[in-house]
Symmetry: C2
Subunit: 538 residues, 2 copies
Amino acid sequence: MSVTFETHPSRYRHWKLETAPDHARLTMKVDEAGGLSPGYALKLNSYDLGVDIELADAVMRLRFEHPEVSVVTIESALDGMFCAGANIFMLAHADHGFKVNFCKFTNETRLAIEDASANSGQRYVAALNGTCSGGGYELALACEEIILVNDRRSAVSLPEIAYLGVLPGTGGLTRLVDKRKVRRDLADVFATLAEGVRGARAVKWGLVDAVAPRSRFAEAVAERVASLVDPARAGRAGVALDALAPAESGTEIRYRHLTLRLDLSRRLAELSIDGPQGVPAIPAEAAALGADFYPLRLFREIDDALLRLRFNYPAIGLVLIKSAGSLDRVVELDRALWKRRGDWFVNETLLLMKRVLKRLDLTAKSFFALVEPGSCFAGSMFELALAADRIYMKSGVDARIATGALNGGALPMGNGLSRLETRFIADPARAAALAAGGTFDADAALAAGLVTAAPDELDWEEELRLAIGERLSLSPDALTGMEASIRFAGPETMETRIFGRLSAWQNWIFQRPNAIGEHGALKLYGQPQSPQFDYTRT
Amino acid sequence: MSVTFETHPSRYRHWKLETAPDHARLTMKVDEAGGLSPGYALKLNSYDLGVDIELADAVMRLRFEHPEVSVVTIESALDGMFCAGANIFMLAHADHGFKVNFCKFTNETRLAIEDASANSGQRYVAALNGTCSGGGYELALACEEIILVNDRRSAVSLPEIAYLGVLPGTGGLTRLVDKRKVRRDLADVFATLAEGVRGARAVKWGLVDAVAPRSRFAEAVAERVASLVDPARAGRAGVALDALAPAESGTEIRYRHLTLRLDLSRRLAELSIDGPQGVPAIPAEAAALGADFYPLRLFREIDDALLRLRFNYPAIGLVLIKSAGSLDRVVELDRALWKRRGDWFVNETLLLMKRVLKRLDLTAKSFFALVEPGSCFAGSMFELALAADRIYMKSGVDARIATGALNGGALPMGNGLSRLETRFIADPARAAALAAGGTFDADAALAAGLVTAAPDELDWEEELRLAIGERLSLSPDALTGMEASIRFAGPETMETRIFGRLSAWQNWIFQRPNAIGEHGALKLYGQPQSPQFDYTRT
């Protein structure tokens, strides 16, 4: 199955997006027959990857196309049922790698919702008009506020442990204790209680922010929406995001500024970026630059390429990142962005770049960046190299890298630090000095610690050949575990905890016989037999 | 195989402990034929659990029995070989649960070394007289300083990924980037380079602190030792730790202050603690209290019981924690300990209590604490309840709990917070107010959030029966993942990252076919065939 990630509200099968000047309404009405794969029905607003791709699209379009909107409510079109969570039959039949990537993507979408609330001022409210289970509640947890109907029936719940023998893997457990700061023993009771918690108790435990009776529910939601509206946004005119529509062949996906080359027999890919052709003056209303604005377009293309790499090319083990263009132009463009970061459109562009770089940090493939003559790894483009596991730079030739305005914290990692701060975790002063800007040839870059190795022309081919061959020979599982452990030095945040701790445990559980064996709980869900567990505690 | 954890330097098979007034020498000379199980030879100072049990014993005895020692060097009796790491043949044939528990225990021992350096002023230096691989280097990483012989041959290395397809799971990757703050791309190169790094490069990359040629090695180590000696410790007289020697039957392990009852058919255990019989005055030299001092003895017993539970009773899923004794006496004893924390022996006792409570936090079994009339869950004893997943307290009867001097941060969790601070992560002021001390009946405890539920006498039996039955019915894997995710809200530290992130990834990898399948790297190590990997990236 080859997944595509581009969609548009006019083609949504599972969501309805309605926008008014202040308030957007994102209504879930999952098409039972609209599953991404055959073999399961998406009943009761349960979702699969296709449903979440539409949600991710809507969240992004709301930011760029509807910047006047202050508040987004997430609602359900079903009566008495908000969302039943991820579709179990889909999960029970998906292979391990797909399940893991599915959870990662859904969580990235939830983080994008939180990013919109926190950094774009576009605030999300979950209006739970009925029962909200599992991944449905995880979606609600990603919203800034949760309002639950109080009708003696509608509960929030995380039934994964009780019913499926797996974890709520889209951040559920971590958001409970780290974001909503639910007391750990109450979190324990809640997460093992299949039927969930409703009404006043849900408020008392901190699981929702408010409840309202059915008769007053719409009114209560409307009141909260009204209180969150920011009149300052009213005048903004959005930017329509056109389709990326890359040209795809068996060996190549070609975008406007980016080409992804695939050597499937070697399990090797090459992600080649073309630098900006010019640096446009940013007008008073930056949005006039439109969707063609280079960094917006480029990073949307990188995002799409990363998602295709994850889902459609699981065998690819190593991605070489290359660039070609003018170093100075990238520096200049970054400086212009940074100077105008107070403009909503520039801010959204920077936030998108940040999220795409995080998606790279979290992609379970190895990345080597290659710096050669003609490369343009400067500033924001150098962040791609800093996100890579290693950086090789050819010495004795006219290859340079440059740091600049966007290396100082404008594009933070999930741990809250810049990539330079993470790289030089032992020496914050050096990170700050380097972020102040500079241009480096290979010797200077090596001395400054900005690159991993700087072979000269004579050694370049051979050293790369060996490094690539070695990387591709190693256990892919060990590499995934290693990269997840060393890419994120320093502090942890809710975000790094979700991907680092919770996801790793979920991955473990997802392949245990107690979940997916012949008698496992996930496998047998919905069937008459009860699961049989090996009760050995590990 | 039933493992026992008590040993004594006079019985060590793998280590030699030599103490001089200032400096102790802990020399590794592993008995090849002394493996804990048959079927593998402990060549080249490779180790198994038995070797690490002796190390853990030595580290504890050094603190209590040799408090005059300022510096401990860890050395090897072999020529040109410090330690080859965990024995691969042992790992390749151990079951999944044992491997996971083995890694956890070895890491706890490494953390005890770090705790001694940081909080007891007994500082560890790794004197690497030869090659130091895998778990050997992880042991070195736990020391405050690492000195490596510089002889063109001796390297430090983490060959797990390259040779075995698994991670250095005893904290290796995390200590690289979080403790030694090695640059992430250099950590990537190092952790995938089977032959490791030696000499000046090892210093430059931050992998070791210093190198010295063979001819000057002993001298260089002696100089570092001399510079670390603290003359103020000279006058201290140690306390010999006698054997716990519990009476063990098929259904019970009985210690002096603690009884562990085992209901194997129900997979349920009960850990019952007898409170202190009296509160001795702490003399000017607190060490005169000796190894019989109640909290020292009790927490040593709890430690031993937890280790037996982990290794010898893998099917036990739930442990009920009970206590009986005088609440006031515990409060008084805690207060006395806290007042005299400047005394080395009292300090060591508190540090031991801290480590044992952390061992409880990290035990992959569910814990419910039960508070009934006659319970003595006060202060340090209440920490055991706070470490449990839930606390049930009987209401309408004369059951009380109390907080006191040791609930305010004297016994921190791995995340650096007290258990009250972690419990009330949303409300630090409440945590502080509760830690100031107080006595609570069930209604007050419930209102204060100190207990999970407070059923009255009529409901007590039935509510517990249901809760216990439910807990024992759930997937043990899902519970392990859930508990690891919600027990440690709030900040993360190197320690929580090792157990939360690194261990979870290692657990995942440890059961993947690429490691343990018929053609897996761990399985085939030392055999003529090369491993065959499924290169799908997850």
